[in-house]
Symmetry: D2
Subunit: 348 residues, 4 copies
Amino acid sequence: MIFSSDNWAGAHPVIAESLVRAAGGFASAYGTSELDRKVEKTLSAVFERDVAVFFVATGTAANSLALASTNRPGGHVLCHREAHVNADECGAPEFFSHGAKLAPVDGPDGKMDPNRLEKEIQRTRGGGVHGGQPMAVTMTQATEAGTVYSLDEIDAIAAIAKSFNLPLHMDGARFANALVTLGATPAEMTWKRGIDLLSFGGTKNGCWCAEALILFDTSKAEEMGYLRKRSAQLFSKSRFIAAQFDAYLEGDLWLDLARHANGMASRLAAGIEGSNSTRLAWPSGSNELFVVLKKETAAKLQADGAVFYDWPVPHTLSNSVAEDEGLYRLVTSFATTPDDVDRFLKAL
Amino acid sequence: MIFSSDNWAGAHPVIAESLVRAAGGFASAYGTSELDRKVEKTLSAVFERDVAVFFVATGTAANSLALASTNRPGGHVLCHREAHVNADECGAPEFFSHGAKLAPVDGPDGKMDPNRLEKEIQRTRGGGVHGGQPMAVTMTQATEAGTVYSLDEIDAIAAIAKSFNLPLHMDGARFANALVTLGATPAEMTWKRGIDLLSFGGTKNGCWCAEALILFDTSKAEEMGYLRKRSAQLFSKSRFIAAQFDAYLEGDLWLDLARHANGMASRLAAGIEGSNSTRLAWPSGSNELFVVLKKETAAKLQADGAVFYDWPVPHTLSNSVAEDEGLYRLVTSFATTPDDVDRFLKAL
Amino acid sequence: MIFSSDNWAGAHPVIAESLVRAAGGFASAYGTSELDRKVEKTLSAVFERDVAVFFVATGTAANSLALASTNRPGGHVLCHREAHVNADECGAPEFFSHGAKLAPVDGPDGKMDPNRLEKEIQRTRGGGVHGGQPMAVTMTQATEAGTVYSLDEIDAIAAIAKSFNLPLHMDGARFANALVTLGATPAEMTWKRGIDLLSFGGTKNGCWCAEALILFDTSKAEEMGYLRKRSAQLFSKSRFIAAQFDAYLEGDLWLDLARHANGMASRLAAGIEGSNSTRLAWPSGSNELFVVLKKETAAKLQADGAVFYDWPVPHTLSNSVAEDEGLYRLVTSFATTPDDVDRFLKAL
Amino acid sequence: MIFSSDNWAGAHPVIAESLVRAAGGFASAYGTSELDRKVEKTLSAVFERDVAVFFVATGTAANSLALASTNRPGGHVLCHREAHVNADECGAPEFFSHGAKLAPVDGPDGKMDPNRLEKEIQRTRGGGVHGGQPMAVTMTQATEAGTVYSLDEIDAIAAIAKSFNLPLHMDGARFANALVTLGATPAEMTWKRGIDLLSFGGTKNGCWCAEALILFDTSKAEEMGYLRKRSAQLFSKSRFIAAQFDAYLEGDLWLDLARHANGMASRLAAGIEGSNSTRLAWPSGSNELFVVLKKETAAKLQADGAVFYDWPVPHTLSNSVAEDEGLYRLVTSFATTPDDVDRFLKAL
């Protein structure tokens, strides 16, 4: 009953085996091997256009490099207040961007409110050099609240970004989970909507360590090569990432794994919604659920062996969570079993 | 006949299998799993004292974080002119250190000359705030020239660093290769000589991706935790690094692999020294050889299928390499076979 | 009727003349002249203890260097949301601090609410390396709202900073204005309350360009010397700053100028409070007033030759400012005359 | 007999008086006043084209901002080894440029050798992402050795910079001194030769504090506005710089002052060349002389009241300076009198 995080799972066997298969022989280093090239081609096919692919060590690195590439002095990065870049990356985006400001935008269900986004951009522009300048917009899909922006909602954000000529980044740490929820293609959820840069995460969805920064504008690739190396993110034996992505993308394994994880979350959500002692804080859309439980109940579940985290109650929820209640996060993954879910619901 | 680099090899089968073994089940993330802890304990045993261990993505990251932790405004990092930090990291040490200056120190055989090191430190101190201030000394073991500092030579460098109260870092991308050459213990080659921070590399010696920054002063560990995360170098499924190191250190596999690679280099060196058409640029000591060849010979070898790199002739060699000659680097690894070596020597 | 800003005034004649007097002869550069030393001694006397003094070009530089000296990776600087460091310095504090986060704390009348400050510190500490770490607290005296922290209010902020072992900085761009309002001594308003670093501004109060960063802990002075030089803030002919401060501090000119500016603001405030078409947004305490006016009235005043700025309505006031009203800032200075004030009030 | 530095002089009386004249009245802040605009226009006239002008606090700031505006990750700035940016700015260019590397190029008489410059650029480009990338070339006019690049020599450097598409910066801390030596116009010595960015120094030549960064490509001005503010280099009462430049440029005062300083240096040089106990290290061309003296002689001169600095012997001179000799720098300024010179020569 491990619902603490999708990064508590290890690697899917197919992916681990791919690493073993690739271990023999020699191949050129620093991202130039045949396997690296193959994965780049596969990703271009997946996204239905030529893309530039940069393997990096962590999702934080992909996000931070994306934002660093948009760099402007005194720059503001518009993001949801709860976004990973703002709340959970220890200032990496600021460091990579030489001191950019993460400018939080509120909005319900973990999604930026387009009106507030526009107002915040205008506010920044109003301050002249003193106030700095907007530099990029970043959105998370699936969001940190476990919800998913609809294609229309992405359009609304993109329209504002474009109207101010700001690059638009998508943090896709749980890209596959959002994709299968929307039933969209990768192209439809990204560049066809106006996304310029994508953090494409594989780690949370069954890889050991497979994160890629994807540029839809390949003319920015040369500069990114230097940015990545300068950030100590260029792997020598880069094919160990390629080998993971190769297996991950082959035969749509990645979508199957996401469907499984989302399915487990739905099963959990159904059980929770059917209970009268608990409720979801936000609608469910991916493999993350945020649940309001009596603190007592949560403690009992944990004593019974369920592993999950307390979550800080955001100020938008502060009125709807009672004194004796808490907010808790439940995350499923490729490795979650129906039995795990059912045991949890039974304990609940 | 692949002698291009030790990072053209993949992973040793035992290490790849360890990744498969660790792939199942759940474990806590971000370096807190049992396997992570086990490796930390093993490394403390290996180094005969409590050490703080930070897994990172690349050797460049380990080096850059080590230097970043010594940060001083206007700081100078003293290093050999050919050091990886100075020549091959695209400014990562400068970026991580917010603009520190890499101050090159010359010396024969890829080793810093202690007298020049001292003079350069004094020169910097002489400039007041205008000239900046010395901040750290870093040495590479084995060096970029394939040579190895003797214990006495490490002592000489350490004595100078200590006399100016400067932290001393060792770039151990090929730590194991140097260790087996000296026949010293890890402790004897590091903290017993005055090394404060060590980049402990496993990738070039049989791992897929296993680099660790090791602090001998564990009181610096808390700050380093933030530095690492801010640099986007904290792996979520950190145990995939731990699994590699676990197999790497088990039963001294790491030393066996280094002995093998060094042995292949010695076999190659013996053949080269016995030839009258070629010679070594620097004495051999690890798994890297630098060879002076007629350009014609090099081209013929490459046509015969040998893979190795041209190397820029450093100014210290410029008088001893003729117009029709070039400098070439040959690197062996755990995956090099005696047959590879013998075929190369025969072709030569 | 210039109420746009205290930096629209030029220099007080006594200060300008001091520059002429100092122009002749030779003196050693980079802050080592006799005049530089004299001012340092005077400031030590003014603050009743040995202080380290660093002249810099701008208040932004003093603030940014102060915060840079407290640097921690992933660091958060706690400040009021409307603080100059957060709202008006184009990311200079973030740049100087290599990407620190300015963490806004709300509170009425431009002052941080101590409870919210404490909560925000605890929130940051709760996130482990992911959330970063608190690194410093900074308060503005007089505040950006024109109000003044009482000595007790400073004590409350300082107690929290100290309880978390965080350095406490005061942005004293309008230090003198606050001082004469409180009737306190410089020591009483700073280090006796727990202030560690002070931006001591002279520019807004009658100098051309005279800003100093003052360290109450002189053991930090050596490092600051390098920080200042690395930030391109070390003047060669430093005595041109010293000459201004020399005249500024002589015979308490600085306090007289502040008393005059505050007096003009009080005269203005009295007139405004007596009017029934307008009101103060916050209580008056220094030489800045924030006034709620009908937009129509404001436009008419401006047409009549009054110069002052619209001010963005902060969200805390959004309910109390009507649709047809605006928020306006009126600033007085050493150069404001009673006649200016009276003409403005008459026009109103 | 003060020959220590041109920054030991104060301000020329005409410039000091201009500050007094400008002190009254009100004017808009942050570089928007009429006087600011007037000086910008004057500089456009002086340079015979529209230029963008940014007043900053120090020459180090002008240099560092110029280089920061050319920023590229892993960037190398090519400069003479003895250049102020490399030797005397405590890492400010590196800090402003987020870790760029200052890549020293040698050459006689303080001037970059064009062949070496080209080789160093090619060497950097040869290393792929590992070696970083060339990002800018910077030259100092007059040089740190007191010499002056001829127009042809500037052409040679510019041709190389342009052939690699690199922006070319001129550090003109002693711009006027070089200009009057060459008898060229400001345009002829800068943009007509290919200079893109100029640090235009007034401080060493009779101002208190007047430095400007001049962009010949005005399309870069908007971004520079943010860079300057983010660096804490935007003066509020900016007209105090404008007032100095206004007087400095009026009636060619700046050229008269430079001619005087150079004339004093020539008088000194003539006397030194006529002596048989001493010699010039490099040909004289501006207001700086570097003299080889017996240490004993230098000590005696200093005992007699002459103030001048020992200078570190660069390695290019190490063979021509005897054990009992030293290298000494003598600098003249607008404030040096013929009598100072003659007394020094007599003492010699």
